[in-house]
């Protein structure tokens, strides 16, 4: 596990100036029942005086309870309750999935987790028990399976962003450089995750890169790419293969969007409560849709929630196992 290794939960809490006994006193009976863990940035070895304390509690009885907020002095404390079975439910999703060996590390060939479960997995991989007798949330052998799934999730985001940047470059509009820089950023996230660094919160990327030993110049170059050519050169210098986006993705109508009628007129109503008299209703391989309707309408439909873009599990499996 990369990252700044935290020796004890007391040291992690010390970053925000709170003692474990002080936390227990403020929480009262809340922490008396079940197993309690410090999770999030502090547990992962990051954080500063302005960080929150995130606590996950596991109990054999009762179900999920919505998170609630309390304060120790000025420090916010988020507490969230889980049933013990939540751990087994998560492990069942990530254990023994087929993986492909890649330059980043083993990547799961499917992406089974919702974003909520992905965040839980990250937090539980780095959780620190308030009581050492509680042991880790996840068994140590779950780490490899968990990171293969986390890596897959970031690879999906990278492939998606490369697809957008490739399409934007075809339009020759001003948006492409920003999207290539975002793709460069995701290469760095993939690198960190592949090296065993995981923490929720995008803002910790510089700290993760530092902990993983990625040189500042390398990172700045990836964050500053402005074209497909620069992106390919930067990833190539890291020893990575070419990353394709358009050919590894598909598009489909957003299932949350629906057609509505007003008089004789038809509109598309998106999940963002926007109404469009004209819209994109394409489905299929991104490359084929691009050839059919053009890159600019495709990007417009994606931007406005008319259509969504997915990474093709089959196409990515073929690319990873090639």
């Amino acid at each position: 596990m990369a990252g700044v290794q935290v020796v004890s939960v007391e040291q992690a809490l010390g970053v925000v100036g709170v003692g474990l006994a002080q936390l227990r006193t403020h929480a009262g009976s809340v922490l008396a029942d079940g197993r309690s863990y410090l999770v999030g940035s502090l547990a992962a070895g990051f954080g500063n005086r302005g960080s929150d304390i995130d606590i996950h509690l596991f109990r054999s009885t009762g179900g999920y309870a919505p998170p609630y907020l309390m304060f120790v002095g000025d420090v916010p404390v988020d507490l969230e309750h889980f049933p013990d079975q939540a751990v087994g439910d998560l492990l069942a999703q990530v254990t023994d999935l087929p993986v492909a060996a890649t330059p980043f590390g083993p990547v799961a060939l499917t992406n089974p987790l919702s974003e909520t479960d992905e965040r839980r997995l990250i937090r539980w991989l780095t959780a620190l028990p308030l009581d050492p007798e509680s042991g880790p949330v996840l068994p140590p052998q779950a780490s490899a399976d968990g990171f293969a799934v986390l890596l897959r999730a970031v690879v999906d985001r990278l492939v998606t962003m490369v697809a957008l940047a490739e399409l934007a470059e075809e339009v020759a509009a001003e948006g492409a450089p920003y999207l290539w820089a975002r793709a460069g950023r995701l290469v760095l996230e993939v690198t960190c995750t592949g090296r065993g660094s995981a923490v929720t919160g995008e803002k910790w990327l510089p700290a993760r890169l530092d902990a993983c030993g990625v040189p500042v110049d390398t990172a700045r170059r990836m964050l500053s790419v402005t074209s497909g050519e620069e992106f390919a050169a930067a990833t190539g210098s890291l020893g990575l293969p070419a990353i394709r986006g358009v050919e590894l993705t598909t598009v489909r109508p957003d299932p949350a969007a629906r057609e509505v009628s007003v008089g004789r007129q038809r509109f598309l109503l998106t999940r963002h409560e926007r109404v469009y008299p004209e819209w994109v209703a394409a489905a299929g391989a991104t490359a084929a849709v691009r050839d059919d309707i053009g890159a600019a309408p495709l990007l417009s439909g994606l931007r406005t929630g008319q259509i969504v873009l997915d990474v093709s599990t089959d196409a990515l499996r073929d690319a990873l196992c090639r």
């Binding site: 907020l69 000025d74 998606t160 957008l164 001003e174 990327l205």
Partner: protein
Amino acid sequence: MPVDGKSFDIGWLLTHGAGASWTFAVSVQSHLEDADAAYAAEDWPLCVESCLLTLLCVRYCDLVVDGYSQRASEVERHLDVAYAGTDVTRDIRGLPPSVGATREDAVAARKVVATHVGRLRESLPVDVPVLRSAGGFFPTVRLGTDIERLRGTHGLPPLDWYQWDV
């Protein structure tokens, strides 16, 4: 547009205005505090990162002011920044790389953030306390309670406060 100076429509306050105020409390304020904490810790890369996230939330909040609902996906969010052509999206694209950022980078980023957060505050219907603070939590809850009460008297159902998510 206001019809008489600074007034605004009650229907807007109880729907999009309430949503924008809530989004400001849970997203913009949080990242703004992160930027301040990082600056105090002289962690310039983290400060620039937090400024970037603040501006992304400001942009989302701008959209909510205009009636946008539900979470924007990563695809939608970044295509919007790439193509919207607003002042805030241009400034997001103009931020320096966070890695290796200097004190000067952090100072400049915070200045940009202050401008956009100030503008956004002006567009909100109510003054929003700092939600995640010991002194601001209950006043913020009070705002929500009052908005729900007004919604009731105007024949509106309870608001789904969690429809807005960055």
